[in-house]
Symmetry: C2
Subunit: 139 residues, 2 copies
DNA sequence: CATAGTGTTATAGTTAACTATAACACTAAA
DNA sequence: TTTAGTGTTATAGTTAACTATAACACTATG
C-alpha cells in the first residue's frame, strides 16, 4: 500500500493523527500495542525515523508508552485525554478557519452533507459503520 | 503587527489564502491592485521573496495579473473563478477530513456555533460555558 | 533627466522534513 | 545461547521553505 499523504502536512504529523483517529474510533484500545515502527515504515514505504517521530509525539502527549524491546502501548486514559485535548484544539484552532471558509464560499448544509458522504474515506482509514448514526452517537 | 502564522502551513500559501479570502469577501475587487510585495513584506515582517511566491500562485491560478513597474491586479472574473474552484477544492479535499473529525469527537452543532463565534475575533483560552451539554463520553 | 514606486532575479545561508544505511539495546521465546 | 522481534541512536545526504542582501527592469511623475 502506497501513500495517501497530504502534502499540506508533514508525514509524521499525519501518522500521529492517524493513530489518534484509531484511538478515538476504538480501533486501538487502551493497553493495545501500536503497529511496530518497522511494520508501519514498510507498509507505507516511509522511513522508520519518520514513523518514530510521529510516535514520539504521542509519547510526549502522554497517550502512549514506549517499552524498549516490546513495543509501544496505548496508555490508560488515552481516549479520555484525547476527547478533551483534541476537542479544545479543534474548536480553537481549526474550526474557526473552516467555518469562515464555509461562510465565505456560501456552502449550504446540503452541499456539505453530500460531500461528507461521498468523500468520507480521507483519514479514518478504517471501517465506519457508525457513520449513519447522526447526532446521537457514542455511548 | 507581527505574525499570526499557522505553523501547519507554509507562509506563502497562507498569504495566498489571505488574498483569496479578501477577494471572496469583496475587500479586494476585480481591477484592484494587490498590496505591494514590499509593503506586505514589511508589514508582516516577512521576506519579499516569500510574498512574491504567494502572489505567483495567484498568477498561476489566473486570478491575478502582474504588471511590471505598476503592481499586481485582480483579474476580471477572479471572484467567479474562485467560487467555483475553491468550493470544489474545499468539498473534495478539506471538508471530508474535517467532517470525520467532528463525528469522531462527537461535537454538537451548538459547540461548533459557539466556537465559530468566539474564535472569529480572538482565540482566547477561557473555558467553555457550553460544556454542560452531554459528556457521557468517557469510559 | 532623476526619483520613487512597482515586480523580478541572483546569490547564498539556515532550518525542518525526509530519506538511506547501519548499528545498538532490550525482550521473549526457541 | 541464539534468534527474531521490538524501540533507539548515529551519520550523512536531499529537498523545500524561509531568510538576508543586493541588484536589475519597468512605469509614472517631477
Amino acid at each position: 500500500m502506497d501513500r495517501e499523504w497530504n502534502d499540506s502536512q508533514p508525514i509524521y504529523r499525519q501518522l500521529r493523527d492517524l493513530v489518534v483517529a484509531m484511538i478515538l474510533d476504538g480501533v486501538l484500545k487502551e493497553g493495545d500495542p501500536l503497529p511496530s515502527v518497522r511494520n508501519v515504515a514498510a507498509e507505507y514505504r516511509v522511513n522508520p525515523l519518520t514513523v518514530l517521530k510521529g510516535y514520539q509525539q504521542l509519547v510526549d502527549e502522554g497517550l502512549v508508552e514506549s517499552k524498549r524491546g516490546l513495543g509501544m502501548f496505548i496508555n490508560a486514559g488515552a481516549r479520555k485525554l484525547l476527547l478533551q485535548g483534541e476537542r479544545q484544539k479543534f474548536l480553537a484552532e481549526e474550526w474557526p478557519r473552516v467555518h469562515a471558509t464555509i461562510q465565505r464560499l456560501g456552502l449550504t448544509p446540503e452541499e456539505l452533507d453530500t460531500a461528507a458522504k461521498s468523500g468520507s474515506s480521507s483519514d479514518g482509514a478504517q471501517s465506519k459503520p457508525a457513520e449513519s448514526k447522526a447526532r446521537k452517537e457514542e455511548r
